[in-house]
């Protein structure tokens, strides 16, 4: 067994030997082949291109051949990428070789990465022509998309073939479509038919939808038809709003608008727009004699121009236009209303289509034309109100005011103070500085900036003096004015606030007056007392410094008049607050009344007041002054009156002279005229004011005789003698037998006195 094995082993050894030594068939390995070919290429003996997988080599001629064959096999058009895939050659070579091929042979083209043979284009154009003849029109864009060509290339190719292989047209300015003659004629007929049949404006878009899709071609056809006069109409508007309007429609429309404007006197632009006029203002300006609102305002501003209502003219406002005739009608209407003391809101009388702005413009035009005799005010820009209406308006609130006044007079505990305030002795307002809100600074906490801007505002001292604010008034207004617009109501309420408050104050004042029955307030008494004291000081100085005049007459008169008045006022001031019985005017106190009132005073006040009262009956005024000084010093009275300083004295003297002169102008009594003229003349000469009784006049005249021109003293003396004469005449009336004679003499004397006193007055005022 083992021997057999070894025999086999030896046999195999021999076989191995044979196999190893067997001659090798002649062959070149792939590696060798590659090396050999590379060697040949290196030696420039051959030019080869290897395939992408590197397994094959191609000569240039082979590649050219393969590209051509592959392209033709694909129908004459193949993409370079397909060539790369199909020929298994790098894209760089494909690009280079196709490019070379297209340069060498004009039968080959490279278009958008496609390698194309001209036969393909011929076939393509034939196919295109077939489609065109079938459809009548083809979109260049569709062709481009379908065949994956650029628009320029397709246009170029079609234009080259137009009239030959492609039977159709391309418009120069509309290169979007290619169409056949038949198609063009069909569309023309269709559009002509539609447009000739239409009786009203038709949207171009609508026609377009019904006929063809190509807008530019449609417009081209439309323009041709309009230019050649085959259809009669106009195209208005642009883009989507483009309208075809037949000529006869435009004519009818113009007639209708014209008749509407002539009949109504106005028209609004919105209405014109709706009726198909795209630019109403231009339309109106073109067809009518117009003037704009601003031009008219300018004319009115320069001088009062009357509207020429004879020639029809339209005034252009904001949203409409109005004829001059209608404007003048409205103006007359408003003027009538104002003359009758009423008000009118122009919105209510203007045509309903007028908007707010139009109404404002209209009213401004009318306001500048209304006669100067008619006084009015404008509210909320559209309401015009006569001044008369405004003046009467506060009185319509009388019932409300009356109720409030009654409430105040019944409940208010300080009516006297209110009286003072209302009569202007004390300011109605307290000045309040209201600081505006502090501006917030950027910083935090302490860095806040408080920039305050002071504003002055008035607030009533007493809340009772406030009547209604504008909001409250606004609520009441509809009671008295019907159909009032909210804006007008607010403005009118704001306007009425002041007049209504004044009206309320006057009614309140009247009511307080009637309630207090003429009782004077402490302040009134004090003021009167001060004024009397100043006068007394001035009159006393005149007596003290008078030369050639007997002082006693004047002193006694002063004690009985001014000093008595001062005593009474002082007494009234002291007892006013606790005296239960009503006290009349303190100036009219009799001696008995005075003594009775003094008895009511407390024990501290009583002696000095008794002394003061007694001093009035003496001859010396100094006692009165001494007593007054004691009263000023006494704590029980707490009253102090100062003597006037030089400046005050001068102003009081000038005030007294003014008062005398005013009295002189008004006076009718001859004796008083002479009295006043004498006192005024004395003051002019001496600078002193005498408080003179009637019997002091001759003494003053005696003084003046030496101190004023003779002619003047003659006038005064003449008047004096006539007065004396009349007095004697009147006293001796019983001596006259004939009453008629007495009357005649009296009349004569009166005539003379009138002439004489006129001379006196004119002397005082003109010399």
């Amino acid at each position: 067994m083992a021997t057999n094995e070894w025999t086999d082993v030896h046999a195999l050894q021999d076989m191995l030997h044979q196999v190893q030594n067997a001659p090798e068939p002649p062959r070149l390995s792939e590696q060798n082949c590659v090396e050999i070919i590379q060697k040949i290429i290196k030696l420039n003996l051959i030019e080869l291109i290897h395939t992408l997988d590197g397994k094959e080599y191609l000569t240039h001629e082979q590649l050219f051949k393969e590209i051509r064959e592959e392209t033709l096999a694909q129908g004459g058009r193949v993409s370079l990428l397909s060539l790369q895939t199909n020929l298994n050659v790098d894209i760089g070579y494909i690009q280079k070789f196709t490019s070379d091929l297209s340069k060498q042979d004009n039968q080959w083209l490279i278009i958008q990465g496609d390698f194309i043979n001209r036969r393909y284009l011929d076939k393509w154009s034939e196919e295109l022509n077939d489609n065109l003849q079938e459809a009548g029109i083809l979109s260049i864009t569709d062709i481009c998309t379908h065949h994956n060509f650029t628009k320029d290339f397709v246009l170029n190719q079609i234009q080259q073939r137009l009239g030959h292989s492609i039977q159709g047209h391309i418009e120069h300015h509309n290169a979007d479509v290619v169409f056949t003659d038949g198609y063009l004629e069909r569309q023309k007929s269709s559009i002509r038919g539609i447009l000739n049949a239409t009786t009203q404006p038709l949207k171009v878009q609508t026609i377009l939808k019904r006929t063809m899709k190509e807008e530019k071609l449609f417009h081209s056809i439309l323009t041709q038809l309009l230019t050649s006069g085959e259809i009669k109409g106009t195209i208005r508007g642009s883009l989507d709003k483009e309208l075809f309007i037949p000529n006869f429609y435009i004519e009818a429309q113009e007639k209708w608008i014209d008749s509407s404007i002539q009949a109504n006197g106005y028209t609004d632009y919105e209405r014109l727009l709706k009726s198909g006029i795209p630019d109403p203002i231009s339309y109106v300006q073109k067809n009518y004699d117009t003037i704009t609102y601003f031009q008219l305002r300018k004319q009115f501003g320069k001088n009062a121009v009357q509207l020429d209502v004879e020639n029809f003219k339209l005034i252009l406002l904001d949203s409409c236009c109005i004829s001059n005739q209608l404007l003048s009608q409205i103006e007359a209407n408003i003027e009538n209303t104002l003359t009758s003391g009423e008000w009118v809101d122009i919105v209510s009388i203007a045509p309903p289509v007028f908007n707010q702005q139009d109404c404002i413009m209209l009213l401004q035009l009318i306001a500048s034309q209304i006669s100067n005799n008619v006084q009015f005010k404008l509210f909320s820009e559209t309401a015009v109100v006569s001044e008369l209406f405004l003046e009467n308006l506060p009185s319509k609130f009388d019932d409300v005011i009356e109720a409030k006044v009654q409430r105040i007079t019944a409940s208010c505990s300080y009516l006297n103070e209110l009286f003072q305030v209302l009569t202007g002795r004390v300011s109605k307002f307290k000045v309040v500085y209201s600081a505006s809100k502090p501006k917030k600074g950027k910083g935090k906490g302490k860095r806040k900036v408080h920039e305050q801007e002071d504003e002055l505002s008035n607030q009533y001292v007493y809340p009772e003096l406030e009547f209604m604010n504008s909001i409250e008034i606004s609520r009441y207004l509809p009671r008295y004015i019907q159909e009032i617009s909210p804006d007008f109501r607010e403005e009118l309420a704001a306007y009425l606030e002041q007049p209504l408050t004044s009206h309320f104050h006057s009614m309140l004042l009247d009511s307080i007056k009637s309630k207090t029955k003429g009782q004077l307030s402490s302040t009134d008494i004090y003021n009167q007392l001060t004024m009397c004291w100043y006068h007394l000081a001035i009159f006393k100085q005149a007596i003290d410094e008078a030369i050639g005049i007997p002082g006693e007459i004047f002193t006694r008169y002063l004690l009985s008049s001014i000093c008595s008045e001062i005593t009474n006022l002082l007494l009234y001031l002291l007892i006013k607050d606790f005296c239960n019985e009503p006290i009349n005017d303190p100036k009219t106190f009799t001696e008995a009344k005075r003594m009775k009132l003094i008895s009511l005073l407390n024990e501290k006040q009583k002696p000095l007041m008794v002394q003061l009262s007694k001093s009035l009956h003496g001859k010396e005024i100094d006692i009165f002054f001494l007593t007054m000084d004691k009263i000023f010093e006494h704590k029980a009275f707490s009253i102090k009156l100062d003597y006037p300083n030089t400046k005050k004295r001068k102003s009081i003297i000038s005030g007294l002279i003014d008062t005398f002169e005013e009295q002189l102008k008004e006076e009718k009594d001859f004796a008083t005229i002479l009295h006043l003229a004498t006192v005024i003349s004395y003051t002019k000469v001496t600078g002193l004011v005498l408080h003179s009784p009637g019997k002091g006049v001759p003494h003053i005249l005696d003084f003046l005789a030496n101190n004023i021109p003779e002619e003047k003293i003659r006038v005064l003396k003449k008047c004096q003698s006539l007065i004396i004469k009349k007095m004697i005449h009147m006293r001796e009336n019983d001596k006259w037998d004939n009453v008629q004679d007495f009357e005649q003499e009296t009349q004569r004397l009166n005539q003379e006195l009138i002439v004489s006193t006129e001379e006196v007055i004119s002397m005082i005022f003109w010399h």
Binding site: E5, V9, L12, Q13, M15, H17, Q20, A22, P25, S29
Partner: protein, 164 residues
């Protein structure tokens, strides 16, 4: 990835050199049977190489098949470099692989042990250990000697340690 690629490649090579079925060392009775398989495998592999023009070695053994000698060659730059190699079948064969010697290259490369033994430790012995007793002499040459020559000879040529 590299592992799977090398496995495919191994299979292809193994396909051209059939594997052994008998596990026997020179001391075993079955050694002649094993030797028959070795020869058959070698003959088949060499025949395939000849067909493909990839013939790269010649080998022969003594009668018992214990001592093997041969020549292998490498072609580079149109030049054929030929080297003698030899190896003995170890007594533990096929559990331990034979050690190939190329005495003429001793001292020229680091990938060689003393006495001209080429270094198979890294790239071949683990493979042999996994495939024993299926691998035989033909596999020793395919996976042991061939890669060593493919790597080392171009290196030695570049260094100028080998001349024509």
């Amino acid at each position: 990835m590299a592992t799977s690629t090398s496995k495919v490649w191994d299979k292809q090579l193994v396909g051209s050199a059939p594997v052994m079925t008998i596990n026997a060392s020179p001391r075993d009775e079955k050694w002649p049977a094993r030797l028959k398989e070795e020869y058959t495998s070698l003959i088949q592999y060499i025949s395939k190489n000849k067909e493909n023009g990839n013939d790269w070695f010649k080998i022969e053994s003594d009668k018992e098949g214990k001592k093997w000698i041969g020549k292998c060659w490498h072609t580079q730059n149109y030049t054929k470099y030929e080297f003698s190699f030899e190896f003995s079948i170890p007594s533990a064969y096929p559990n331990s692989a034979p050690e190939i010697l190329i005495p003429e290259l001793e001292g020229k490369t680091a990938k060689m042990y003393k006495g001209g033994k080429i270094c198979l430790t890294d790239h071949f012995y683990p493979l042999w250990a996994r495939n024993t007793p299926k691998y035989g002499i033909s596999h020793l040459l395919i996976f042991g000697l061939s890669p060593w020559i493919a790597v080392e000879i171009p290196d030695l040529l570049e260094k100028g340690l080998i001349s024509k």
